[in-house]
């Protein structure tokens, strides 16, 4: 039930946003994430965006994972 999926904000209208994931559109509430703006990815949980995905952090984690994988090949 604590499932949340990252969906892309395509438009904002007050505390509502139109979002898109894999070609499917859905209207969600951004009452809990007033900072969400067009182009952001938000974590969608039971009709509400509960958090904004941090793109820079996502890249940083992938970079770390790639470094670990490269180091593991050496061993």
């Amino acid at each position: 039930m604590c499932l949340a999926v990252p969906v892309k904000v395509v438009s904002v209208d007050g505390d509502q946003a139109e979002t898109e994931i894999a070609g499917v559109r859905r209207r969600v509430s951004i009452a809990l994430t007033p900072e969400a703006k067009v182009g952001d990815y938000v974590l969608l949980h039971t009709g509400y965006a509960i958090g904004v995905v941090e793109e820079a952090e996502a890249q940083e984690t992938l970079k770390l994972l790639e470094e670990i994988a490269n180091l593991s090949e050496v061993y």
Partner: protein, 376 residues
């Protein structure tokens, strides 16, 4: 899909699994609190990817599973009241109560409807002003702010026939209750990713400080979970337990302050009744007095018969991590997804459902004999 596919990369998974195997020397037991993690761990074969030194146990993070039978019986009784429409998240409907289920109540004529969101429940209330619409408010900190926001929306829009039966539960207090009981020796906790989106990582700080147990917040893709296990193994190997976030694209240390503000506006902290654990002080959310007209617990009076637990069902033990589903005599024999005896087999986050669905067998469990030596 962005932020999902890239965290399933085989090459990166192999690299991380290798590093965990290289680092892990101590035999340890980790608990994944969240039922979503249990399912991901079994679905992606994470247990086969980590060394035998790392045992994984499922915890109480399944809202449907931890709902006490007495609370479910109350919801069923509410459904039978005249002019009431009961709205609920889907999994609840099939959970057996003491004498009935919401599904059976529906078959008997009660108006029980599955909703995806509290917003849908508010919409049903708007469209049916002659009926009382009750929403069964289960869930953890992830869901509680959404219930609060919907209740405030109903107030703003002057919808007077919307009610919530507040059964929301809080994560850190029940972690404390489990650690205090000492029943299951733990070295580390895979902390719930989406609960932490709301509460942040600070509320876990007492766990390493007071109990010496490592805490790492995890996302839900295979690489997220492996990275979390990697951090936990490192902390435990160094005997330096602390709180870390291995899911920084979703979780900030301070969490979501606006969500917590709305949650605190509508709810106050009170006790909660957990299946298998009992009453835990400070682990539940009650609707504040100023919003009590939305409180189904106050607006309606029902007195269901005393609850009784299904015979032989070990859901309570599974919820506490004291037993695995494989240790329950009913598992796969009497209790299946088609004929569930307890909620852990019904819910899409239940440990029994995960073990059943992904065919978990004994050899996926950690080396039990060694664990006993270590944890006494």
């Amino acid at each position: 899909m962005k932020f999902i596919d890239e965290y399933q990369d085989n090459k990166l998974v192999a690299g991380l699994a290798k590093r965990i195997a290289r680092r892990s020397t101590k035999t340890i037991r980790l608990m994944e609190f969240c039922g979503g993690h249990t399912h991901a761990i079994l679905r992606y074969g994470i247990r086969q990817l980590v060394p035998k030194t790392v045992e994984m146990r499922s915890g109480p993070g399944c809202p449907v599973c931890v709902t006490a039978t007495a609370d479910l019986d109350k919801a069923i009784a509410l459904a039978h009241l005249p002019d009431v429409t009961l709205t609920t998240f889907g999994d609840m409907i099939r959970v057996p109560g003491s004498y009935s289920s919401l599904q059976r109540a529906k078959a008997e004529g009660a108006d029980v409807r599955i909703v995806y969101s509290t917003i849908d429940a508010v919409e049903i209330a708007k469209a049916n002003p002659e009926k009382s619409i009750i929403f069964i408010g289960i869930g953890f900190e992830t869901t509680a702010p959404t219930i609060a926001a919907s209740l405030l929306k109903a107030q703003r829009e002057k919808i007077e026939n919307f009610y919530v039966l507040s059964l929301s539960k809080l994560t850190p207090p029940v972690m404390k209750a489990l650690l205090d009981s000492g029943e299951v020796g733990l070295d580390g906790i895979v902390c719930p990713g989406h609960v932490s989106v709301i509460i942040g990582s600070h509320p876990y700080e007492f766990i390493p400080r007071d109990y010496g147990v490592a805490c790492v917040v995890s996302g839900f893709e295979p690489l997220d979970i492996l990275l979390c296990i990697d951090r936990l193994v490192e902390q435990i190997e160094k005997s330096e337990p602390t709180v870390e976030i291995a899911y920084p694209r979703g979780v900030k240390p301070e969490g979501n302050e606006e969500a917590r503000r709305l949650m605190a506006k509508v709810f106050e902290v009170g006790e909660a009744n957990w299946r298998g654990i009992g009453i835990v002080p400070g682990s539940g959310l009650k609707i504040r007095e100023e919003y009590e007209r939305f409180d189904a617990g106050k607006a309606f009076s029902v007195s269901p018969r005393p609850p009784r637990e299904p015979e032989g069902c070990r859901c309570g033990d599974v919820i506490r991590g004291a037993a695995t589903p494989l240790e329950c005599k009913l598992f796969r024999k009497v209790c299946t997804p088609e004929t569930p005896v307890g909620p852990c087999m019904v819910s899409s986050e239940g440990a029994c459902a995960a073990y059943y669905q992904y065919g978990a067998t004994e050899n996926l469990q950690g080396p039990e004999a060694d664990m006993e030596q270590i944890h006494g």
